[in-house]
């Protein structure tokens, strides 16, 4: 009898622990994530839908949106190519300095974005290493679009590679060897064998890369110079609008970024499921 009551108490206790942990997690998520997210939309629509949409007619806002899209349209494809190349090299070949390269890819995750931006200022700025040459040749990188693109590329380059390396390592290179032995060219092998095998992982990496490219603040802030209508991306424009006490417009632009984040989450969820399924199939095959 005694043991039974004992076990019941311990069961009660574990239930208590369980529910209090769940409650803590939900409360925390609610306060830290959901409430702010709702706030964005509430603030954006505080003065009605008209004021909300009015915000997007502002020339500077439109320019900021445009620049954000241009930046990610350059940074994401470049990082896609880089990511595929790097993970191919790491997963399918062994070479000297491989683990160093893997560490290097993670560097942008480890460094504060502000530092990332600062590095480019020190390299390409007027007082920087290449500064005098750039001025002499009339090339402007810092406080201009090229600087923003460079900083964005730096900050976002681990995403695709990080996603693909484990996937490609898992898959090995038997299929590629089989294709080559069957007479396929290198390009045919990549296009018909490798790419279909990594497509979901690749898309997943691209989605995350894009979300970060559009949302990046720190690194871009350092190199941008905040010239309204020229070198402001969406996140920078939000800051400026907010500092100008133009809350409705600030939150209106924020809603775009929030919607982007939500879309990313949905896609991420779907793609994660697809990648997992591919990996399961792979396990099944062995």
């Amino acid at each position: 009898m005694k043991t039974r009551s004992n076990s019941q108490t311990s069961l009660d206790e574990s239930k208590l622990v369980k529910y209090s942990l769940i409650a803590t997690a939900i409360l925390f998520l609610g306060v830290m994530l959901v409430v702010p997210l709702i706030t964005i939309f509430v603030e954006a629509f505080r003065k009605g839908a008209e004021a909300y949409f009015q915000s997007f007619t502002n020339e500077y806002v439109l320019q900021a949106i445009k620049l954000t899209f241009i930046t990610s349209a350059i940074a994401v494809p470049l990082n896609l190519v880089f990511g595929v190349a790097a993970s191919w090299a790491i997963a399918k070949y062994s070479f000297f300095g491989k683990s160093f390269l893997i560490t290097l890819i993670d560097l942008p995750f480890a460094v504060s974005p502000v530092i990332s931006g600062l590095v480019y200022v020190l390299l390409f700025g007027a007082q920087g290493w290449f500064g005098s040459w750039l001025i002499a040749n009339d090339v402007q990188i810092i406080f201009a679009v090229p600087g923003i693109v460079l900083a964005t590329i730096f900050v976002t380059f681990p995403f695709v590679a990080r996603e693909l390396i484990p996937l490609m390592q898992e898959q090995g290179n038997d299929e590629e060897q089989a294709a080559l032995l069957l007479g396929a060219s290198g390009f045919q092998t990549f296009w018909k064998v490798t790419l279909p095998n990594i497509k979901w992982g690749l898309l997943y990496g691209v989605i995350l890369c894009n979300a970060r490219a559009m949302g990046e603040f720190g690194a871009v802030s350092v190199v941008s110079g905040h010239i309204q209508g020229t070198t402001n991306t969406m996140p920078l424009q939000v800051e400026i609008l907010y500092n100008e006490y133009n809350f409705v417009a600030a939150f209106a632009v924020s809603t775009l970024l929030a919607i982007l984040a939500l879309l990313t989450l949905v896609l991420k969820y779907i793609l994660e499921w697809k990648v997992l399924r591919e990996l399961k199939k792979l396990k099944n095959e062995e």
């Binding site: 038997d174 299929e175 060897q177 089989a178 294709a179 080559l180 032995l181 069957l182 007479g183 396929a184 060219s185 045919q188 018909k192 064998v193 279909p196 095998n197 199939k281 792979l282 099944n284 095959e285 062995e286």
Partner: protein
Amino acid sequence: MKIEVKNLTKYFGNFVALDNINLEIVPGELLALLGPSGSGKTTLLRMIAGLETVDDTDTGEILFNKIDVAKKDIGDRDIGFVFQHYALFKHMTVFENIAFGLRVKPKKDRPSNDEINKKVTKLLQLIQLDGFANRFPWQLSGGQRQRVALARALAVEPKVLLLDEPFGALDAKVRADLRKWLKELQEELGITTVLVTHDQEEALEVADRIVVISKGKIEQIGTPEEVFHNPANEFVINFLGNVNLFHGREEDGRLNIDSSLENEDNNSKFLIRPHELEIVSVNDKDAILQAKVRYIQLAGSQVKVELTHLENEAKRVLVEISHYEFKEKNINKGDIVGIRPRALRTFEDGAGI
């Protein structure tokens, strides 16, 4: 196609993977490369395929019909390769897997869709997977996948078929069925085939000739009968099945066991297979040894009797006899019996068999 490997030495860093290999593959034969794991047999196969190259630090050459293939691209070697883990294209159907080699041909050599259809259908019949064209690899069993891999390799009509432990990942029963099927298919097609395996039974069953490899060196080349009955050295006889080791001297065709010779040279070593020993009564004048019956294993086509030397229980002897003989002699666990070799032969480097 005739393949010659001449004085081939391959290094991986400081490790000698292949040590001065000389080998000639006769057109139309099924050659088995047999050896333990790490012996270099797979490296040799992959070098013939071109998956490993003859690097600057390596020596020797590989000739296809007298032409050095070192500079030839993998795809231009006319080779069909089958991997241990199938390496099927998992996002393609069975049909597309088999058709792959035809579809990637340069435009001028590429068969029309109709021709590809016909060819793949024919291959599907050949591998007895007629209704499986639209399945994906993950929907097939291991044996079925390996047959698809074989059909895929055959689709481009290679001059040589290279198989890297093709049945290694399969169940024993499937493995036995599949290798019989492969042997028949190979004879029917007459295609030169090289098979890598660590399974001596597999090699003995399917191969026309066997190359026994150990530590990057060829130990013996010969027909299954030759390597089994006339092994060139101790490694070969050990690797090709169970064997009993005795130390002694031969006098008038009779073996006198003498354990004091254990640390002597090869002349006192006698290696005798379990089926070449006979169990006789303990007082039999031809018995070379008295022994005690320890275990009897009745399952199998032969009865396996494990005995220990009477004078030294740590030394074991394995004898295989027919069920008929076993019943007739009424052998029981714990019996003290005599052991007699049915035949005693000597061979080149001095050890007897």
